[in-house]
Amino acid sequence: MNNHDPGHDPELRRLLDDAVRDINPHEGISAIRARTNEKEKPMPRRSALFGAAGAAVATAAVIGVVVATGALDTDDKDGDNTPVATPRTPSATVDDPTPATSDPTPDDPDTAPEGHAIAVYHLGDSGRGPVLYREFQRLDEPDHGFADDLGALMSPPLDPDYRTLWQPGDLTGATLDETSEVLRVEIRDAAMRQRPDGISRAEAEASVQQVVYTLQAAAGERAPVQFVLDGNPVDQVWGVATAEPLAHAFEALSMMSITTPAEGETVSGTFTATGVNNGFEAWVGYQILKDGNEVASDFGMAEGWAEEKLFPWEVEVDVSDLEPGEYVLRFHNDDPSGGTEGSGPDEDTRTIIVE
């Protein structure tokens, strides 16, 4: 009992094994077979249109989508997903543990687990204007396909430094057309062609790229994104030209984005921060700030730099000498000019609670 290494605790192992040793479940294969046979009846179209008029869009944390049975997502072509089951009830709600739609994304469990984290992009500020930050959000809900990603996209991000300008209902559904390899995203109405008051051109462009990156992340492939209205390509969205499918624009991204810790996460001792960046000589710097003053700093290295992509990094952060309390963890790229030119290096911050 004095062994406090969680990695080796034969006692706990024995207790847990023992606790369920007498559990001998009923036969289950018949029920499974009955349901998998039913699943082989594909739905007529593949679509992740959800809810009427976006009514189903809730905040990311509590997405509960009522899915019309006729508009279920199926994957009848390339099909690494199954043609999706007709839900056992006419609508699937948060109370139903069965996924109502399957996510037309790569279903490798390493990237798209059931119930799961999704990657969603949000706007944040940088010296060069609004840029996109990737944020992972955990949804404790069954997988609702693109509806989850769009719902998160139109909901406030976890990190208060980020923002989204899309309102719930703006984007009413998304599909991946696997014939043309184009992601299609449906907008609410023709009024969305015009840029709203209070949204700058740069913000509008970043917001369009936000949709591109988020849907590509959801689909697991860099398919171009076509904005559509009533199923037809729309010439512009918020004043940004969208007549043709849009590719992702690398420069829209923040060149520094923290993956973990999450905003407000409690940390102690030494922990591993992770993220992606593209910075001079693959250098990854961090500072820990208390009330705006640096109390610690160090650096690590990313896996690469210079190409047009973001490279993963992992940096050990030591907070063992810090008093318990709230701090800001700031990761930033190197600025070889020393701040004398350009707009300063891209950065990302998280509030952390040291205990």
Binding site: M1, H4, P6, G7, D9, L12, L15, L16, D17, D18, A19, V20, D22, I23, P25, H26, G28, I29, A31, I32, R33, R35, T36, K39, E40, K41, D75, D76, D78, G79, D80, N81, T82, P83, V84, A85, V94, D95, P97, T98, P99, P106, D107, D108, P109, D110, P113, E114, G115, A117, F136, R138, D140, E141, P142, T260, E265, S268, G269, F271
Partner: protein, 204 residues
Amino acid sequence: MPGGPCKPPEPLGRRTSVTIHALPTQRRSRVTGWDADTAVGELYAAHWRSLVRLSVLLVRDVGTAEEVVQDAFVAMHGKWGRLREPDKALAYLRRAVVNRSRSVLRHRGVVARHLAKEAGRGEPTAPSADEATMDADRRAAVLDALAALPRRQREVLVLRHYLDLSEAEIADALSISRGAVKSHASRGAAALRGRLAFLHEEQR
């Protein structure tokens, strides 16, 4: 067309507008030659019981656990076209069981109901002369103690000590950092030891 040679379709019921040979679930694994149905059968035979037990550790209730694992198998069947290998499929099943167990806990209040029931019965710790009863009491006490832990601690402990997953695998499965895995594991273990201290005293 992806996939192996066409297999005569299973009877599909009503729908006719479908290209049968493109169904992803008909895809066969390059490794095993299994199609989705075979994979379900094989994995069911090998892991049904242990997966239900895994879910019982998380949701406490056997009937609920059976439903959770059935759901996981149905989902795995649908994803076989991506998984295609037994070890990937097993990892997927485990993850699905953990996630679905969490969902039912949140939405059905399984633990809350169970704990309320237990509270009505008083502490399940009274020593009993009968060995079978003692076993049952000890098991119930462990499950109760697990159920009383914060969700993350319970999940991490079960993945670590029941499934023997590594910290990295747990971090991946739960989409949390390794630091968080460590922290939940040590706190969970300490809390569980505290709650189960009496078992020790009885054994020594």
